[in-house]
Symmetry: C2
Subunit: 140 residues, 2 copies
DNA sequence: TTCATTGCAAAAGCTTTGCATGTGT
DNA sequence: ACACATGCAAAGCTTTTGCAATGAA
């Protein structure tokens, strides 16, 4: 499914489907939560793959572009990514003039909930974020 | 005010009050929004200060420790910080068992609101985040 | 055959650190 | 005088890039 999307994308862009790219995508899809490039590389190595770090770093922008992964907050020194899933939590932006509601999703926000809760020793189960303001049409 | 806090902190820790640390703190306090180490360094240079990048990098952890600044999300390659202000927006964690409400503040969340709104061309004015779950006492 | 891709190693960008020198207390 | 601080330059880490060799279409 994601695999087909990837292949299609590569063809459309005049790029090539390679063993390395397949291996990387597979490993990304095997990740449960968010990950960083080094982690991905280590796992691939551990599985006997011969991909180089360079290929991992070069494939990530492609996966970002198709929307298979998204960038999450950088907590450490390095970048973090997570897989985009279909049925996921979303939050709302509410226009104070026309009442229009815009849904949005932010992987960073989802991570943030975990971090904040951990700091307060709170067991967070769900959250609701509402941003109030004016939508594109109604803003002056 | 922040300056006294800093001096006190240094004394308590057996550290020394130096011209460089003063200059850095002053420049940090002069920053309106969030900043990164390089920006801070450039500004100090521009003002004729002779502090080194190393001192900037070595002073930041101290300011973090006293709570004069907080770390904000890393959007680029480098770290960002912002000054902690007293009367600031806060959000809530609500215990679904005892109803206890914990207030918290997250600089990253504040930045996130801006970023998300920009993406959707929404003029965000305020937000409300509520995290539901169980507090330390009530979690099983 | 023709380009894109790969791996390697070198480079780049941000941050940290070792060391000799300088400076508050 | 004694620690701790500072500046410099070198080292450390993560990420990017140049290049020759390789491989998909």
């Amino acid at each position: 499914m994601e695999r087909e999307k990837f292949k299609e994308f590569l063809i459309t862009k005049g790029l090539k489907s390679t063993k390395e790219r397949d291996e990387i995508l597979n490993e990304v899809l095997a990740m449960k939560k968010h990950f960083d490039p080094e982690e991905l590389f280590i796992r691939l190595k551990a599985k006997g793959s011969k991909v180089s770090r360079a290929s991992v770093y070069r494939t990530i922008p492609l996966l970002l572009e198709i929307g298979i992964i998204e960038e999450v907050e950088r907590t450490d020194r390095h970048a973090h990514y997570e897989i985009v899933s279909k049925d996921r939590h979303h939050d709302h932006m509410i226009c104070m003039n026309c009442g229009n509601v815009i849904e949005f999703y932010s992987p960073t926000l989802e991570m943030l909930q975990d971090e904040i809760c951990q700091k307060e020793k709170f067991q967070g189960l769900r959250h609701s974020l509402e941003i109030f303001g004016y939508c594109e049409k109604c803003r002056s």
